[in-house]
């Protein structure tokens, strides 16, 4: 083996490190350690001059190992690996000591911080000593993409990828795509008609030669890794033959059985055979077996009798489809918060207390009231109160701000003003109108004469204390600007309910081996610099499944995710994990313990030779087998026992 020559570089990170850690001392200390040829410290190691410093030292001093003590390797490991590669050193002959996140940022104790930094640097030096050059291998990327969830985010991502003539499988759980947006009447702040801007996109998805749309379907299993995933999809039985049905709807008209419409949130009805709404894509009905008389009692089959195309098929069963894709985009959206637990607002107790989403349906021209804003008894409200932050910004429910409620509350105020003579009262804590055109919209609503009361509503009650309040819902709270408690008698109350993670978000996360942040939404790879990727290569997130957001942001994020996928498709290959495990077949006793341990089934037993062997393409380098092998026959590249022992020794100096 050639002589090991290590260069050590301690970064000040401006003052981020140097303020707490004595960088001079750390860098001096490094020179006392074996095989260290040079040790320097510099303001910003990641800058061009910083990187050049390393490159020059490699050339002039013949360094063959490099240690940088700076931030987390999750930030800059790729940067420095790239730099030493450019200078002709294998990128794996590199090690980083995290003296910022794990050191200068968690303590104010200069002495302890400096001691810890020294220990971390000594660990990195001792470890890098044993590093071996690794070969980077690549595999091809399957150009197909799986998108889970057909709301606006999923639709946008699907169209962008498909338009570049790459195949997309779009899987939607409901009978139609469209998500929440198709339930709305208008969208803030422009007041575009939601259906008018969304249905053309939905139709494009339905007809796109590069999109295979699977509605009424769910992904059940995912295996593989970036570049070559396999997904098992369950297409639930619709009891309608998709190839025969032309969407005429005669079955729906003839069906005598009714149920609450999920699409109208129970405010309206649908048939037992139904499409959720008129512009559904695909325009193919499904039979709801829980309400169909034939499934319940064995009699009826009215739909079948009237369908001239013979598309009704009571014998249909769920189908399992397997697809192979290179990348996955998750766009499963959000659930609307159920305000029942906030008993003081009387949701479910009083007739005219609605959630935000319910009010969308009431406003919608094709909704249960044909777009008329009316009370349960059919009369027009004379006054309406909109209560902000219901379930949001509240430790008892969700701590986060749902980001769209202030704006949709303003949208409702406008619609109420436009369609009725009602007074509108908004009870808000802070008006958050941060987007493009949003503050202007707020101003417009002020002009329209909406009453703004600054204070979180304490209660909605029907206990009147004077004549004016008789028969009304009274909203009580403090007007914090007046320092007075107020009672506002109204006819209708709209709760600006929060957006929350899907109730099955945990299962979906598990399916994709991605994680959830503390609030339950899916966790992005980096909150600022990588909001669309996840910790799992090849799995991207977009739209409200990552956190509450408005349509423009959901679309932007979906486009970003599509671009990331297209980039991988266009490159055509992905690098495999280089730090894999290998079995020393001389030492392998053939016990096969490791075979079952590997989560990727990368280890197989070669019967003829009585040894186990690891498939390098499948191995993801977790090291579980290494720790378990009783014959110590498995080596984890970059994480060899030698290396880890050296590191332990290093941190304990």
């Amino acid at each position: 083996m050639e002589e090991v020559k290590i260069g050590v570089y301690v970064c000040h990170c401006g003052l981020n490190i140097a303020d707490i850690v004595d960088v001079e001392e750390v860098s001096k200390y490094a020179t006392t350690l074996p095989a260290v040829v040079v040790s320097r410290n510099y303001k910003f190691m990641c800058s061009d001059p910083g990187q050049n410093m390393i490159k020059e030292d490699i050339k002039e001093l013949g360094l063959n190992r490099v240690v940088v003590a700076s931030c987390s390797p999750l930030m800059h490991e790729p940067t420095f690996r790239g730099a030493i590669q450019e200078a002709g050193v294998n990128p794996y002959l590199f090690e980083m000591a995290n003296i910022r996140e794990h050191c200068s940022w968690i303590t104010e104790d200069h002495k302890e911080a400096t001691e810890k930094a020294k220990a971390l640097v000594s660990a990195a030096i001792r470890r890098v000593y044993y590093h071996q050059p690794l070969e980077i291998k690549e595999v091809p990327v399957n150009p197909n993409t799986l998108i889970i969830g057909g709301g606006i985010a999923g639709i946008q991502a699907a169209l962008e990828i498909a338009d570049s003539e790459h195949k997309v499988y779009l899987v939607e759980r409901d009978p139609s795509i469209g998500g929440h947006m198709i339930q709305f009447d208008k969208t803030f702040p422009t007041l575009d008609c939601s259906a008018c801007i969304l249905t053309p996109k939905m139709t494009s998805v339905g007809m796109h030669p590069y999109i295979e749309l699977m509605t009424y379907s769910e992904v059940e299993e995912i295996s593989g890794f970036v570049g070559s995933f396999k997904a098992r999809i369950r297409k639930k039985a619709r009891y309608v033959d998709e190839d025969k049905c032309n969407g005429c709807g005669v079955c729906v008209t003839k069906c005598p059985w009714k149920a609450d419409s999920e699409f109208d949130l129970g405010l309206g009805e649908r048939k037992a055979i139904y499409t959720p709404f008129a512009q559904a894509v695909p325009n193919i009905p499904v039979i709801d077996t829980e309400h169909c008389a034939y499934f319940l009692k064995g009699k009826c089959r009215a739909c079948e009798k009237f369908c001239e195309l013979g598309a009704i098929d009571f014998e249909q069963v769920d189908q399992i489809v397997e697809v192979e894709v290179g990348n996955i985009i998750v766009t499963t959206g959000y659930d609307s918060f159920d305000p029942t637990p906030i008993t003081q607002y009387g949701y479910g107790k009083f007739d005219n207390v609605y959630t935000g989403l319910e009010f969308e349906r009431i406003c919608n021209a094709v909704g249960p009231t044909s777009g008329k804003i009316v009370l349960k008894d059919g009369s027009e409200p004379k006054s309406v109160a909109i209560l902000h932050c219901v379930g949001s910004r509240d430790e008892n429910y969700h701590e986060y701000c749902s980001r769209v409620c202030c704006m949709y509350a303003l949208k409702y105020s406008h619609l109420i003003k436009e369609r009725t003579d009602a007074e509108v009262y908004q009870m808000y804590i802070d008006m958050r109108c941060f987007g493009k055109g949003y503050e202007e919209f707020y101003k417009r609503l002020s002009e329209e004469g909406v009453n703004f009361i600054r204070g979180k509503a304490a209660e909605v009650t029907d206990r009147a204390i004077n004549e004016d309040e008789e028969g009304k819902l009274i909203v009580c709270g403090e007007d914090t600007l007046l320092c007075k408690t107020i009672r506002v008698p109204v006819d209708m109350v709209i709760l600006a309910t929060a957006l929350e993670p899907r109730s099955d978000a945990a299962e979906v996360a598990k399916l994709l081996t991605i994680t959830q942040s503390a609030d339950g939404f899916f966790l992005e790879r980096h909150p600022k610099l990588d909001p669309v990727a996840t910790m799992t290569e090849g799995v991207f997130i977009a739209g409200c499944c990552q956190g509450p957001k408005d349509i423009p942001d959901a679309v932007a994020q979906a486009s970003a995710a599509a671009t990331r996928v297209l980039a991988l498709i266009s490159k055509g290959r992905v690098e495999l994990e280089a730090a894999t495990a290998v079995i020393d077949e001389e030492k392998c006793s053939g016990c096969r313990i490791c075979n079952l341990l590997c989560p990727y089934s990368a280890i197989s037993f070669i019967v003829d030779e009585k040894v186990s062997r690891i498939n390098e393409v499948l191995c993801k380098g977790c090291g579980t087998c290494v720790a378990a092998c009783p014959s110590v026959a498995i080596t984890h590249k970059q994480f060899t026992t030698e290396e880890i022992t050296a590191e332990i020794e290093g941190v304990l100096v």
Partner: protein, 141 residues
């Protein structure tokens, strides 16, 4: 001067290491006593590493992985869980108090949890004092 215990932390790359990073990024303050070694998965942590750490002068060893069910490699942390259960039984024979070794879970978004585990463990180990091996204990009588 008070005794500052040395604790070796084995953190998996996908959840816990990121959780520890987050604690730093959010400038949460915590005991600086845990020296972190990054492994790809908690499943890589061999019991031998833990004994080695004690031999080399550690006063405690902390192993952190993703929450059960969240392991980046599907089930590496279940393997760790089983392995650590066995290891726990061996500790008394080696004269290592139970509080000196801890296996716990920290997700990438749980900077605060990381801090509380580290602080708690540091306090417990501080209370136990510096670790001296059985053999040495005998020697010193």
């Amino acid at each position: 001067m008070s005794f500052e215990p040395k604790i070796v932390g084995f953190l998996c790359n996908w959840c816990s290491y990121r959780g520890a990073d987050l604690a730093g990024t959010a400038r949460m303050k915590c005991a600086p006593n845990v020296r972190i070694i990054r492994v790809m998965c908690s499943g890589r942590v061999e019991p031998a590493f833990i004994f080695q750490a004690f031999q080399l002068g550690a006063d405690g060893v902390l192993v952190l992985g993703c929450h059960p069910g969240d392991c980046h490699y599907a089930e590496g942390n279940y393997k760790t869980l089983r392995r650590m259960a066995l290891l726990e039984k061996m500790l008394p024979q080696l004269g290592i108090e139970a509080d000196r070794v801890r296996l716990d879970w920290v997700s990438a978004s749980e900077g605060d949890r990381f801090v509380s585990i580290v602080d708690d463990m540091t306090e417990k180990v501080r209370a136990l004092g510096t670790f001296t091996q059985n053999s040495e204990k005998e020697k010193h009588g």
